[in-house]
Symmetry: C2
Subunit: 226 residues, 2 copies
């Protein structure tokens, strides 16, 4: 399967590298390919420049947002939640129509040391995406854990859970197969239609607090029953 991964940050890099490793044909999308490749210093989070990552993953082709969306039979939104809608507009509705669009982003806003969501409660980023691109088959997933855990759930000591939300049952089944057979997830919980993305996006404030308390992002949730 050809994948188009929108976003060259840690999440986009981690998902692209894993999909490449699985043998897929992967393009990774950025607003300005030349500018992204030309950066030599670390980004504002202290990560190495994209070019250093790209040298280690030559199989993943960089492209514009539109080229990347056109390349992908399945498209992944791994952009900053505040940029998502403009990135998808640049990607082009025609390049998304009928395709599975996996949304892993969160609408986080950091301001003066506090984190809030730019949309929540009676709406969600995933619903905004679905409304803006009604012919895309949006599946929200993987937004409730850090990138390394997304593609390597077995790194944690016990089984733990990932959620999927979306209106298209067939699209959710395809994404569930990728999560299980590709990434190694054992517990994939289908929460329901795209409005259930509200719940997983509103979980982020608690996730960020837990990361602070535990001093690591390498954790996830397990649901315990009787």
């Amino acid at each position: 399967v050809n994948y188009g991964v929108l976003g060259t940050g840690t999440v986009g890099q981690t998902l692209s590298a894993k999909l490449d490793e699985l043998g897929h044909d992967v393009m990774i999308g950025t607003r300005d390919v030349e500018q992204t490749l030309a950066r030599t210093g670390p980004d504002r989070l202290g990560n190495p420049p994209f070019s250093a990552w790209h040298e280690q993953h030559p199989g993943v082709k960089p492209g514009s947002f539109a080229e990347t969306a056109a390349h992908g039979e399945i498209v992944i939104n791994a952009t900053n939640g505040q940029a998502t809608l403009s990135v998808l507009e640049a990607a082009g509705a025609d390049n998304l129509n009928g395709k599975i669009l996996i949304d892993v982003a969160n609408p986080l806003v950091f301001s003066q040391g506090k984190m809030t969501l730019s949309v929540c409660n009676d709406d969600s980023l995933a619903e905004q995406i679905q409304r803006a691109h009604p012919k895309a088959r949006v599946v929200k997933t993987l937004n409730t854990m850090t990138a390394r855990v997304m593609v390597n759930p077995a790194m944690l000591a016990e089984d733990h859970v990932v959620f999927v939300s979306g209106n298209d049952a067939e699209a959710k089944a395809s994404v569930t197969a990728l999560l299980k057979d590709g990434f190694g997830w054992k517990s994939v919980v289908d929460l329901g239609d795209i409005t259930t993305a509200r719940g997983v996006e509103m979980f982020l404030p608690l996730w960020v607090q837990l990361m602070g308390v535990m001093g690591t992002p390498l954790f996830n949730l397990k649901i315990v029953q009787r």
Copy 2:
């Protein structure tokens, strides 16, 4: 310790019964004691009337909100989140000053089959309570699981987690002792000050979705690490 439990619904009944069983002197508060005791039919959720519960728990004294808050050395808010601020006003600031006020409520609004929160993102019910009663020592806890699990965590198959949030370290330590020694919790995670109540309250939409998917409220979260 004398406890005052505000709210005669399932949560108030369950917490009162457990505290009574533990040997504490417990009063349970309602707006109109005579009217609450006079009800003979089931409530709108189909639960038996308060009087039936009270016959089985004669050690728990019913009282007005003000009497209950005055009685409690520790006061518990187990009211509907939409009623909480008016209940605490009726309880009386003087009856809350200096006391630990355990807030287990959630600001849930159900309308046309959809659930939202009446406050979230940059504020929370617990913060509203703390602002309205600055001399009370508010501790948010136990709002992330169903009542039966609150007082009997051992009923689930594995260890799982409960959170505490609050500005007063001593108050959180007292509440943590009640959770561990009284109710049997093994994992109590201190998230930080009262603003961290935003995260646990914003978890509720996901909790409600999970209850729907699993067909039972008898579950809780475990944090899995490496």
